[in-house]
């Protein structure tokens, strides 16, 4: 009986197609990746079943975590305009470098009196800078109120648009603090705003 010869096949596979797909996916992920914004408020947002996504432009956000208020605006030019307006209001003059630095700061939570030293801190030491939160109270002339007001003015002047307001609060934040932000907004006739939440997942234990 003749032995059946098994044909020996080469183990090398043509990897061109696999390589193509891999790099295609890689390109996709690189292009869609967004740098994570370092949020100093460390607010853990509560879950909700809401599905509406958050807009990523024309937004101002008041974050609150550990009773400290943080503020951010998406537009860079609005940021620097707001800083100028706040400077004249509180009698602080900022150098062009400081304004430049501020326009690149995504989120901040520093009262006006220490804002200058915050902007003068070199970037590598910013992590150690203790942000004490923006001052806010129920009067008509607190810093948070003015930040929101000046950035709305700046947005109107620069882009002729209205800024969308959103509140990003930590789940454990007590209601009076939230109420403080809401009353600040109500005083400038802002009655419609977003609450930032995360999509509901299984409760963490």
């Amino acid at each position: 009986m003749p032995r059946v010869k098994v044909a020996r096949k080469s183990t090398a596979i043509d990897m061109t197609a696999m390589c193509d797909v891999a790099f295609l996916l890689l390109t996709f992920f690189i292009l869609t990746a967004k740098p994570k914004i370092d949020d100093p408020s460390h607010a853990e947002v509560p879950p909700s079943s809401n599905m509406a996504p958050v807009a990523d432009q024309n937004m101002m956000t008041v974050s609150i975590g550990q009773d400290k208020l943080f503020y951010s605006v998406t537009e860079q030019d609005v940021r620097s305009e707001a800083l100028k307006a706040m400077g004249t209001k509180y009698g602080v003059t900022f150098t062009p470098e400081e304004t430049q630095r501020f326009s690149l700061t995504q989120v901040f939570g520093v009262p006006m009196k220490s804002l200058k030293s915050f902007l003068d801190t070199p970037p590598d030491q910013l992590k150690n800078f203790k942000q004490e939160g923006i001052q806010a109270d129920t009067t008509n002339n607190n810093e948070l109120f003015n930040w929101i007001y000046t950035s709305r003015q700046a947005e109107k002047a620069l882009h002729d648009k209205d800024l969308q307001m959103s509140i990003k609060g930590d789940s454990k934040e007590q209601y009076p603090q939230i109420n403080l932000i809401i009353s600040c907004l109500e005083k400038q006739k802002l009655f419609k705003f977003n609450l930032i939440t995360s999509l509901k997942t299984a409760p963490k234990k």
Binding site: A22, F193, L195
Partner: protein, 179 residues
């Protein structure tokens, strides 16, 4: 895996010296490895779950509008206490003792659906929607507020407002130990 074409050349016995034909095949294994490693990295680092937003509209308190009176029998008041507890009652404060409830499917959602159905059944057609007043106490937290607003959208209640808490409700929360 790595292949190098070693054929050709041969032993140069008398014949012409032929230049070696280099293979055009490149070993892609390492490249694919690297590509997949990077893909994995980017997949894990990208945030696919973007934060979601919930709309909240507060009543305009700057203009005095002549608001329509709301029948007390159609209004439900939800008082947010501490320790993730809720007290709710129908109608006017003090008349009916509040019910203590929890959050979620078995708690307040059930109560909301039941009460809305009851209001719809006992009232005439155009004015048979339930209105909800949310009274967050100073001891409730942001998660409670978001949760209750979420329940509003889940149970399809369109008329609701966040209102300041009444002193007697605070007293009642204190009595029950949720303040």
């Amino acid at each position: 895996m790595a292949e190098l074409d070693t054929s050709g050349g041969g032993k140069h016995k008398g014949g012409k010296i032929r230049s070696k034909k280099a293979s055009t095949r490149v070993d892609l294994t390492a490249m694919v490895d690297l590509a997949f490693l990077l893909i994995t990295f980017f997949m894990y680092t990208t945030t696919l779950n973007k934060p979601k937003a919930m709309d909240l509209v507060m009543p305009d308190n700057s203009v005095k509008t002549n608001s329509l009176p709301v029948a007390a029998s159609r209004s439900m008041t939800i008082v947010l206490g501490s320790k993730n507890k809720i007290e709710w009652y129908m109608g006017e404060p003090g008349k009916t003792p509040p019910t203590v409830d929890g959050y979620g499917k078995e708690g307040i959602r059930k109560a909301l659906i039941e009460n809305a159905a009851k209001v719809a059944a006992t009232h005439a057609a155009p004015d048979n929607t339930m209105e909800v007043l949310i009274h967050p106490s100073d001891k409730s937290n942001y998660q409670n507020l978001v949760a209750i607003l979420d329940e509003m959208s889940i149970t399809n209640i369109h008329i609701y407002a966040i209102v300041k808490i009444l002193p007697m409700e605070v007293d009642d929360l204190k009595k029950n130990g949720y303040y």
